[in-house]
């Protein structure tokens, strides 16, 4: 018996030595024997996109083992909780997904991720991305993540048939027109004018109304230190927001964004304002999509008052400080930031590359329109606060609370007060 234990112990020790011996492939950039990539890309489309990037990565880096550490659940909520505990325990993955922009601020301030400016220089990435994008994701002049894809927040989805019945020709161009159109639908049809989902979709609507009413520059300025949230222009936008909310449904709080979007193609609601992930949900075949047709079942336009502005959000990858396999992490970021990597990932995920030089032939339907808008030199960029670009986590939560309370009391003045207070508390 004792002899067997000794043999087992010896075998274990040998195993440990062998494993630690593997870590020897140091090439100056750090251990590149493997790379653990942490994301919440587990859903249909996005998981396929990640797999395609992984295959590309493995071909380019045969010596590096790719470990997919994706965590499912709650569109990232679950993953972020897991990530927070790993970072607390100083066991970071080699690279993790995060929305580009202020959502990363807590990690940046805690020194948990490294600035990537020299990485951008080495790989000529500063020319590859739009200048406005790099400005909007920089914190104190430094860039901390590599954007892989771009989604658009300011999208209006509508049912052409219901608009016709209500006597509305074409999508509304301004917030005022939008309110008139909502009223027309309410008066002339028995359909829901604007479908809405749970609380966060109201936050999403709020950012779109703010952008539509204030214009791009004033909206962008709201998120700078010392911004004036108490201005009459903001009051006007919030009053419009309150007015628009009157045309939504009683049962919003029990609907997910999918339910709200589905109401449009099912002919139950005229309008829905939601990010462009709705498009994939509409046109993809079941069970993950609805298999609907553009132009007959639904149409899209920029959210009212925001044409010419791309309110963007982006999934990006980071370099954690003390990443156990730094060499592997840098090799991964190189793929994530490359034209090939992004062109492999995005058509599957249903988003567009963050780079300007994508292969346009790969993007069809809505994505073709989106890519043209993104790369057009006339397009102005605005960051989506709700999806992590402009508001830090705390600010984000405070605004969510203010909107949640507003949904109860419908008091515009109180909403504005809370937004002013939230901005003051979270001066970045």
């Amino acid at each position: 018996m004792r002899g067997r234990w000794k043999a087992l112990a010896a075998a274990t020790l040998a195993g440990v030595l062998a494993v630690s011996g593997c870590g020897g492939g140091d090439d100056g950039g750090g251990d590149a024997s493997q790379v653990e990539v942490f994301s919440w890309w587990t859903g249909p489309g996005e998981a396929d996109g990640l797999a395609a990037m992984q295959a590309h990565f493995e071909k380019a880096n045969p010596g590096t083992k790719f470990v997919n550490a994706a965590v499912a659940g709650g569109s990232g909520t679950q993953a972020k909780a897991v990530l927070a505990s790993r970072l607390q325990n100083r066991k970071p993955p080699d690279s993790f997904q995060g929305h580009a922009g202020a959502e990363l601020l807590d990690y940046i301030k805690a020194g948990q991720i490294e600035p990537l400016d020299s990485f951008y220089e080495d790989n000529n990435l500063k020319q590859a991305y739009p200048q406005q994008l790099l400005e909007q994701i920089s914190y104190q002049g430094k860039i901390y993540s590599v954007p892989v894809n771009i989604h658009r927040s300011n999208m209006l989805w509508y049912n052409p048939k219901i608009l016709e019945d209500a006597g509305i020709d074409g999508p509304p161009k301004t917030i005022a027109e939008f309110i008139t159109a909502l009223k027309a639908v309410d008066d002339k049809t028995d359909k829901v004018p604007l479908s809405l989902g749970i609380q966060w979709t109201a936050d999403h609507l709020l950012e779109n109304v703010l952008l539509g009413d204030l214009g791009t520059d004033a909206y962008n300025a709201l998120w700078k230190p010392g911004a004036d949230w108490s201005s009459p222009a903001v009051t006007k936008a919030l009053t419009d927001f309150a007015e628009i909310m009157k045309y939504t449904t009683q049962e919003s709080a029990s609907s997910e964004w999918q339910d709200a979007a589905k109401a449009v193609v099912d002919g139950k609601a005229a309008f829905n304002i939601m990010g462009d992930w709705v498009y994939g949900y509409y046109v993809n075949p079941g069970p993950n999509g609805l298999g609907k047709k553009l132009d007959t079942d639904f149409k899209y336009a920029a959210a009212p008052g925001t044409d010419g502005t791309y309110m963007w959000l982006s999934d990006s990858f980071t370099l954690p400080r003390n990443a156990p396999h730094r060499g592997g992490a840098l090799a991964w970021l190189k793929v994530a930031g490359s034209k090939e990597g992004q062109d492999l990932f995005n058509p599957k995920k249903g988003s567009i590359p963050a780079r300007k030089d994508a292969d346009k032939s790969l993007y069809k339907g809505y994505l073709e329109y989106a890519l043209n808008e993104w790369t057009s030199p006339d397009t102005k960029l605005a960051g989506s606060f709700w999806h992590g670009v402009y508001a830090s986590n705390k600010w984000h939560t405070d605004i969510d609370t203010a909107v949640g309370l507003f949904l109860q009391n419908k008091d515009v003045a109180k909403l504005q007060q809370s937004l002013v207070a939230a901005a003051k508390n979270s001066a970045q």
């Binding site: 301030k109 805690a110 984000h396």
Partner: protein, 303 residues
């Protein structure tokens, strides 16, 4: 020092101690150790992940009341607790009473009433979310649709999305789920009342109602108290049911959800720990008097 340590004496207590020591260590570390750590974070100024902990003299416990989301969370928790505990107690006692009066196929009914307890709140929440949808008649689903079909339109309502009383509706699934358990407790209580006592009362000319009023119900007090404590602490900590039905929305905000949001969404460990401490205090307020009472009555019984 007559009680010298000898191997023979040690043989009496040492095995017992060795047997329980792993659980003492585990509880000490993972329950009391973590309670200590949580309290430590709650009285610190760590409102993000970089500020050193420090000590801010319980400022968080006061400041929390200025957070716009906190007062509604407390109000919701209280309303939920009142309706849930009251409802589950009454329904459970009523079911147990029916059983006690003798129904056919009692074992079958007992199982049916107990089954909901075997389902997790997360799973039943998904169904209740659909059942309690407040859509108006033309789009109604769930219970409102059912009411509409059978001509009880007056009963259709906003359920948990009602501005003021929403949390009372939120208590319905919890009552449904826990009343079977309360029934089991009460049934055991009823059965523990000796038949002799009832017979004696009946011989003395007590009506059936008076037998219950003066003989049976007074003996159920310990059961009621246990049920109250168990339901009360479940209710104060409620999290999964609300997450499944409503998610993180202000309209159904409760302290446990606030803890989650503060720690994981807002990245504010100190506020999260403060709320957790308030929750612990609220539960302690329930449990400690109960423990004191049960230890005392234990002693009384022995004496």
């Amino acid at each position: 020092m007559s009680r010298r340590w000898t191997p023979r004496r040690a043989r009496r207590w040492l095995p017992g101690l060795l047997l329980v020591s792993p659980s003492i260590v585990a509880i000490g570390l993972f329950v009391y150790g973590l309670i200590f750590w949580n309290t430590r974070v709650a009285v610190s100024g760590r409102h993000d992940e970089i500020t050193p902990y420090g000590f801010d003299k319980g400022k968080n416990f006061v400041d929390l009341w200025d957070e716009p989301s906190w007062p509604p969370a407390v109000r919701h928790a209280l309303l939920f607790t009142a309706v849930f505990v009251g409802g589950a107690l009454l329904l459970g006692a009523f079911l147990a009473f029916l059983m006690e009066k003798g129904v056919k196929a009692e074992a079958g009914f007992r199982a049916i009433y107990l089954f909901p307890m075997a389902i997790s709140f997360i799973a039943s929440g998904v169904v209740w979310r659909w059942l309690m949808n407040p859509a108006p008649p033309e789009r109604a689903v769930g219970l409102n649709q059912l009411f509409g079909r059978v001509g009880l339109d007056a009963l259709a309502n906003d359920w948990w999305q009602h501005q003021r009383w929403g949390m009372a509706a939120m208590a319905l699934p919890a009552i449904w789920q826990m009343s079977g358990y309360v029934m089991a407790l009460y049934l055991a209580g009823f059965r523990a009342v000796p038949e002799d006592l009832r017979e004696a009362a009946r011989v003395d000319g007590a009506s059936e109602w008076k037998v219950y009023r003066h003989v049976v119900i007074p003996q159920l007090r310990p059961v009621t108290l246990s049920a109250l404590i168990i339901l009360g602490h479940i209710s104060l900590k409620v999290f999964d049911l609300i997450m499944a039905i409503a998610g993180k929305q202000i309209i159904t905000y409760v302290p446990a959800i606030a803890t989650y949001v503060e720690v994981f969404d807002s990245h504010d460990p100190a506020n999260g720990a403060t709320i957790a401490t308030y929750l612990l205090l609220a539960v302690a307020l329930l449990v400690i008097p109960y423990l004191v009472w049960s230890v005392r009555s234990d002693r009384r019984d022995r004496a």
